[in-house]
Symmetry: none
Subunit: 401 residues, 2 copies
């Protein structure tokens, strides 16, 4: 794990290949009617067989009881302490929209809200207006100019958008303008330290201009600004692990995160088959592949149990193609659980399997929450997965005399 | 574990006896032809029966994925954080040869190498010349005198040897002379800080003299020096745990390590029967016994699956004698796994059993990797084993009000 102080002494570059398949929102909970979780309900012949002949276990994404966002869920799997290496919300939001950020840029997570005639907020999310309705408003806001920085405005989903300030000397220590309760007025984006005065001035002008340009509307007549953040300066996976890592992910957020961590992002399509095509094409060029599978989480977040089962079965159908590549180490992990009955991320431990010629084959009955609980890996922090993968691929030498 | 801040408050001396049997390299991996590990292949009627009526589990020596050397593997079992309490390479090597080190001595791990006519290294290990060939060379080098320190030279295995500098003001912050690649010249053992100038000067003279005395040889015509280290000043087990601890180990390295940790080293013979004789003779004189069994690791490191199975069966034959002593707590643990199919130490979790009148008897099917995975202890850091042993022997009082 990245906090292991001797990591630089024990990692060695080799030609062996690691594939880490991250199934977003992998874990779940039983359906009240059947008593079976999504993994237990799905027909997963390939994953079940693979689990039986692998080392199996459960990962704790952050700590028992903590449901992580996508950021900490993933950084942990790559060995970064998710509490220490926590990305600013504005950056994650910008990466999720595919916005390219440069060092020094400040990204801000914004949304439309609705004020009454006296300027007090009556709806902090402007009735969750759909993207079609917010798009012309975002276009209008993108014409605003601010002092001391270049401004760009990027449409998000529904009532959300992102602004990016570029320029010199932009701090992020600025008061968020969302009062967090209805009945209050939007707050002033005041600088909380000297290094953030330029940012505060630019955002104040932006908020004032936005209020003017949205005036007269019944809803979505104001904006709220928060999550001011810059790209963090984190250790890169290629340096830390002496790898040539690559990321294959259909969703922009995961590509952005991978770039931050020093992975090369390989262009790919929208489906798991597209991702496998990309993996096959580039298999010789890298020694570590992060392969991201999103549909299980999306279905879980929608609270659609059947759709999550179907997403897992679709994943299972691609496993033989993945196995045929003959990676030295294959890890199947999840960034967190997303039980459909909760329609949200959760804290529940996440199934894990590690397969290499050095895994014994625990004989767990199936690749499920309850099955993996009986495996030899036990329950480990997600931050340990990366070192297990490295060890199984022969990329770690002995620690200590 | 030793980092538990209230350890001094809860340990109490009692007359009860703990025996910790450390089976070096205990864990393994399945043989590709049978699918059964060394422990699963061996006939171990005594250990299997003992495991069934003990608390069983698996230990993680350092962290998932980290394969420890013998030093960290053992210090962890005695409750010392193996990352924080890491011994210098030279010290471990000297201890392994049975060299007695005193406080302030600097031990150096050395080996013969081969240079070409222009002084560039063509073989960093001098063709791994056997001990018979290196012995007269070591004798020649032992006649060298160096300024500022007394020098002693000690034969190691094959192409390796150890030198010890004794005297005042000897630091260890010196550049290693092994360039780590062939084609380079040996580096100068330069002082990297002021406190190490005397050491550097002595080593420089030694290296220069060695070059002269080995000149004209086709191979093994130079030496490389590294792993400069002193005895560390660690908390002693007798102080930390309020024990009268003793070590019974056939191999010098483990006796040296035990001395460092404050154990009394009991003279013993080469076999497990000899060690059991020693244990029986001194059973009344101590309340903690570290009993070391080496053959399983040696066979594993040789990649000899059958020899490791035989070593485990030989151990099993001694268990009834061990049990007949009636220790209040018997722990059977391993410092790390040494799967014969890897012919090296590994990171895999290690079987553990703890037997006392206060262990429930988990009913695990056998003393194997897969069997112990189902035990009540679960998977714990190796640093927790010592406190479990103490608790089972009634040597810990309640923590906190």
């Amino acid at each position: 794990m990245i906090d292991f102080p001797y990591i630089g002494d024990i990692c060695r570059p080799t030609g062996s290949k690691i594939v880490m398949l991250v199934v977003d929102g992998l874990g779940g909970l039983p359906h009240p009617e059947t008593g079976r979780s999504e993994l237990e309900s799905a027909r997963l012949p390939n994953l079940d067989t693979l689990a039986q002949r692998s080392a199996a276990g459960l990962t704790t994404p952050v700590a028992p009881g903590i449901a992580p966002g996508s950021g900490p869920g993933h950084t942990a799997l790559f060995g970064y302490d998710p509490v220490k290496y926590l990305m600013g919300r504005g950056v994650l939001e910008a990466l999720g929209l595919g916005v390219e950020l440069r060092d020094g840029d400040v990204a801000v997570r914004c949304n439309f809200c609705t004020m009454d005639e006296s300027g007090l907020i009556v709806d902090r999310r402007a009735g969750r207006i759909p993207t079609e309705e917010s798009r012309p408003l975002v276009e209008e806001l993108s014409r605003i100019e601010v002092p001391g920085a270049r401004l760009s405005v990027h449409q998000g989903r529904d009532y959300r958008f992102v602004i990016v300030l570029s320029g010199e000397g932009l701090g992020t220590n600025v008061c968020e303008t969302d009062p967090s309760v209805t009945g209050g007025a939007p707050l002033e984006p005041a600088a909380l330290s000297d290094d953030s005065r330029v940012t505060a001035r630019a955002l104040s002008v932006f908020a004032g201009e936005a209020r003017k340009r949205l005036a007269g509307r019944a809803t979505a007549n104001m904006v709220l600004l928060r999550g001011f953040a810059k790209l963090p300066d984190w250790p890169r996976m290629d340096d830390v692990y002496r790898l040539r890592p690559a990321a294959i992910a259909a969703y922009p957020m995961y590509r952005g995160l991978a770039t931050l961590l020093g992975m090369e992002v390989l262009p790919t399509g929208d489906t798991f088959d597209d991702e496998l095509d990309t993996l096959e094409r580039s298999f010789e060029d890298h020694d570590f592949f992060f392969l991201h599978y999103k549909p299980a989480d999306a279905a879980g977040e929608d609270g659609d149990f059947g759709a999550k089962v179907a997403a897992l079965e679709e994943l299972d159908a691609g496993i033989p193609r993945l196995l045929s590549l003959g990676a030295d180490t294959l890890v199947v992990a999840g960034d967190h659980s997303t039980p459909a009955i909760m329609a949200s991320h959760s804290w529940h431990p996440v199934p894990l399997l590690v397969n290499s010629r050095l895994t014994a084959g625990d004989g767990v009955p199936a690749f499920t929450e309850r099955g993996c609980a009986t495996g030899s890996i036990g329950r480990i922090p997600a931050t340990s997965v990366m070192m297990l993968a490295m060890a199984n691929a022969g990329k770690l030498v002995r620690f200590g005399p």
